[in-house]
């Protein structure tokens, strides 16, 4: 088996890809992709650290179940917001969505 650092670095790489997407992209669906990638990186970390504990813990797997379920709710609500924003503005460029600006 590999040392823990390998999984940690894969997770860090996914996190950095997600942060790049959050900074550079303007399309709302791509921003949602980036958030999902970041959540995935966090889940990989949870499972890896639980597996590499001295006495392997099942709690990390249980917690990542909750994380996956909440990511699903977040995607459902986010996509509904995107559909609604598209209906109101005919565009989902996040720099063009200014209706709620004070």
């Amino acid at each position: 088996m590999e040392p823990l650092i390998n999984y940690f670095i894969v997770s860090a790489a996914l996190l950095c890809v997600g942060i790049y997407g959050l900074i550079a992209k303007r399309n709302a669906i791509r921003l949602l992709f980036a958030v999902e990638i970041i959540i995935n990186a966090a889940i990989i970390n949870f499972v890896a650290f639980a597996r590499y504990h001295d006495t392997p813990l099942i709690t990390g797997q249980t917690f990542s179940l909750f994380a996956i379920a909440l990511a699903a709710t977040e995607a459902a609500v986010g996509l509904a917001i995107i559909v609604q924003a598209f209906r109101l503005n005919n565009d989902i460029d996040v720099l063009e969505l200014k209706k709620l600006r004070g």
Partner: protein, 163 residues
Amino acid sequence: MTDVVFLVVSLLTVFFAILALESRELVYGAVALSLSFLGAAALFILLDSIFIAIFQVLVYVGSIAILIVFVIMLVRRDKWANVTGGNERILGIIAAVLLFSTITYFSLSSSLTSQYPNPTAISNFYEIGSQLINDYWLILQLTGLALAVSIIGALTMAKFENR
């Protein structure tokens, strides 16, 4: 052997994650995103967490990716194909590279490099189920409530007519 598998799977996961953000067509991006999720599921199998891998494939590849494809179908515009970020893109690349090199630099000198797993893996479905019911029953109920509320909220938002 398992090192080669790990290397290929992790490289594919990161590559498809980048492709999901950088592909010209949004639909190809969604496909690449689901392939990246499949790569993460393979990583979970390498970590002896079969149940999480099953759950990942069911929830992410099975529902979230399909939902994203449907939404892309509903909100498509051709002009997005040639939107190119200027300054933000360079800023994003700099931030990502800086963060990644910092994390790598500091973690390479930590104790993570010498940590190897316990050979006795527990990937017992029974353990996970009993822990869900006995220890985390309240969180389980709250997660179900959050799922119900999000579905109702998404439906109400989608039914809202444009006046």
